[in-house]
């Protein structure tokens, strides 16, 4: 119990204040085009830097290393390789506090996915996985939601697929 001036007075020792504010962030033209391709065509695009030739996924308007505008749009995936992943391990994370992942049996998993030809990885949610068996190196494919709005979460998550089936996705 916090103490003030020697008196125990929990009520007066601090004031709680909640903020409930909505922000609307411009995606910019490159990210808009990327998200519209997700929404309308279920396609994932990267942009290539004309200077260092790296293919940046997701698409960016400029290369952060070379500071030049990207020029070429190249479709990647949809199947990629999981190169790193993390489950909510300790009930500490922000996502755990959100409604969607309040159920302790439903643990949010985030991963880095590398598509063939890309020089960077896409960070996204990983679903339909077991924390005890998931391994780096598995192939994953996107699961799109039905009502897409032009948001990175138009892909609900990526799920592991067998190498044999990967070509058919």
């Amino acid at each position: 119990m916090p103490m003030i001036n020697g008196e125990t007075n929990n009520r007066d020792s601090f004031v709680s204040a909640r903020m409930n504010l909505t922000f609307n962030y411009a995606a910019g033209e490159a990210a808009s085009r990327f998200l519209i391709a997700l929404r309308d065509e279920k396609k994932i695009f990267g942009t290539r830097c004309p200077s260092c030739s790296r293919l940046l996924v997701p698409a960016r308007s400029f290369c952060p290393r070379c500071f030049v505008e990207t020029t070429e749009w190249i479709e990647v995936g949809p199947v990629g390789t999981l190169v790193a992943f993390a489950f909510d391990q300790s009930l500490q994370s922000h996502a755990r506090a959100s409604q969607e992942y309040a159920d302790p049996n439903k643990r949010l998993c985030l991963g880095l996915i590398r598509f063939e030809g890309a020089d960077t990885s896409l960070v996204h949610r990983i679903g339909e996985v077991n924390p005890d068996t998931l391994r780096v190196g598995v192939l994953v494919a996107p699961v799109f939601i039905e009502t897409r709005s032009g948001n990175i979460l138009d892909i609900a998550y990526f799920k592991p697929v067998e190498a044999d089936n990967a070509n058919s996705i």
């Binding site: 020792s13 004031v15 709680s16 909640r18 409930n20 922000f23 085009r33 519209i36």
Partner: protein, 152 residues
């Protein structure tokens, strides 16, 4: 031109702001005794509202409490006509409403607060005002509804 998307995020978070010895005492006096307390600087003798641990002008610690009256003099006044979102309620505050910088009797700083009067022609610098208190007090400035003119 490509369709230009906006991505929305809602921030819904809570913070707990500590009150320390000085604000805690101010809150209790306001809520429990309807008294307004300020702190006096030992160097310049100015009485500060709100209370704070150090007089910034003198860089001196303040420990001497002074009771300030709930009457005062208007040093600046305006009528606000835009319905500004009240951060406490999250709702627009009905406009127009009068605002003033009020020097409470006994204080050297002014208090930025609401007036009962919202007709700009009836506001004068130098007018005398008194606090109108809420019955149910919670220990915030909002325990004062507004200040109302008193005849001198």
């Amino acid at each position: 031109m490509t369709e230009q998307l906006r991505i929305s995020h809602t921030m819904n978070m809570e913070w707990r702001y500590g009150t320390s010895w000085y604000f805690a005492k101010f809150i209790r006096a306001l809520r429990d005794k309807r008294r307004i307390l300020g702190l006096r600087c030992p160097v310049c003798r100015r009485v500060y509202l709100p209370p704070r641990p150090v007089c910034g002008n003198c860089y001196a610690e303040m420990r001497e409490w002074v009771e300030v009256k709930d009457t005062g003099t208007v040093r600046a006044a305006t009528v606000v006509h835009v319905p500004i979102i009240d951060p406490v309620t999250g709702q627009p505050r009905p406009a127009p409403y009068g605002m003033a910088l009020i020097q409470l009797d006994g204080a050297d700083t002014t208090l930025n607060y609401y007036l009962a009067e919202n007709d700009p022609t009836k506001l004068r610098i130098g007018m005398r005002v008194r606090a109108v208190w809420r019955e149910q007090r919670t220990g915030t400035l909002s325990d004062i509804v507004y200040f109302k003119e008193v005849s001198s």
